[in-house]
């Protein structure tokens, strides 16, 4: 079956949906617990989980620029819409979350694709997709610390 280049956005919707569900249920059952905010590092983490899943499901597939841009746009919709539906936006306007989420997912998607194209993947390197995501997450953490 031909790999759908927009699977990443579908996986991101599932990952962000599960995270928002967790925040929603956690917030309802333990209202005084300090839950993680939907900030840039969390957005990056969720994006990289979706990209890692796609890395295993569609190993070896290459993405075109239009597909990367479409994924970023759909990622922005996921980050703007789903936290709002779950009541987990924390007072941040949906369009702000959408813009930030689209930028984060688009950038992560571009860098992750570039990384996977340059390192050995496939059955002989089963940890490559997860390892690339971990490196990008650590780099993103450093960058957000500088910001």
């Amino acid at each position: 079956m031909k790999h759908n280049p927009l699977n990443r956005a579908a996986l991101l919707a599932a990952v962000v949906g599960l995270a928002c569900l967790g925040l929603s249920v956690g917030g309802a059952l333990a209202p005084m617990a300090i839950l993680p905010k939907l900030d840039l590092p969390l957005m990056l983490g969720l994006s990289l989980i979706a990209l890692t899943l796609d890395g295993y499901l569609g190993a070896g597939s290459k993405l075109s620029w239009p597909a990367l841009l479409a994924n970023a746009a759909l990622g922005g919709i996921a980050f703007g819409l789903l936290p709002w539906c779950a009541g987990a936006a924390g007072g941040t306007p949906a369009w702000v979350l959408g813009l930030a989420g689209g930028a984060v997912f688009g950038t992560a998607s571009l860098l992750y694709t570039a990384a996977l194209e340059r390192i050995a993947t496939g059955p002989k390197a089963p940890l490559a997709p997860a390892g690339a995501a971990l490196m990008l997450f650590l780099a993103g953490q450093c960058l957000s610390g500088l910001l």
Binding site: L6, A13, V16, A28, M32, L82, C85, A86
Partner: protein, 180 residues
């Protein structure tokens, strides 16, 4: 890439949105009751006699930092929002009917890790405010958090506002206002 490729992500978005909206609606009642119970429990520690219940009172005064007012038999717990170094800080301050601060907790903030974040956890800093009644002044009777003078003044400003709500005093001073 063609239009058919859009079906999977849009379907995933629609399903996730529907599930989240449904779950959020179903949990809203539980969330509200649990939040009220947990809030009352925490606020109970902030006033003498550990009152079990609070009544929210409307506030239409001039102090823009006061968000909500909860009254118990022996005093008030006020929810205040004040400008910290890195964004707004939300605090709860317990004040007795005599105007003395009896409890303080920082509920939410975005202060710098290792510096202003101590406003939430630094007990020696926080305990200085207990027993004050509007005269908390950083550099005078309050020692600031190391490297976090702006945050310390923000906390002092909120605590004094809470005390002033009960005493009616004007608490604005150079010791609590950031002029940087």
């Amino acid at each position: 890439m063609n239009a058919k490729n859009l079906i999977a992500p849009i379907a995933a978005l629609a399903i996730a949105a529907a599930v989240l909206f449904g779950a959020s609606s179903a949990l809203s009642g539980t969330a509200q009751s649990r939040e009220e119970a947990a809030r009352n429990e925490i606020m109970g520690y902030m006033l003498p006699g550990r009152p079990a219940s609070f009544t929210e009172e409307p506030y239409d005064g001039e102090d823009e930092s006061i968000r909500r007012v909860f009254k118990a038999e022996d005093g008030y717990v006020l929810e205040l929002e004040t400008a910290g170094y890195a964004g707004p800080m939300m605090l709860w301050v317990g004040v007795t009917n005599e105007g003395r601060v009896s409890g303080l907790t920082v509920r939410d903030h975005g202060e710098t890790f290792g510096l202003g974040r101590g406003a939430q956890t630094d007990v020696p800093f926080l305990i200085q405010f207990i027993g004050t009644s509007g005269e908390a002044a950083v550099g005078e009777n309050i020692d600031a958090l190391t490297g976090a003078t702006v945050t310390s003044k923000a906390v002092a400003r909120a605590v004094n506002s809470a005390a002033a709500f009960v005493t009616g005093a004007d608490v604005s001073s150079g010791a609590t206002e950031w002029e940087g």
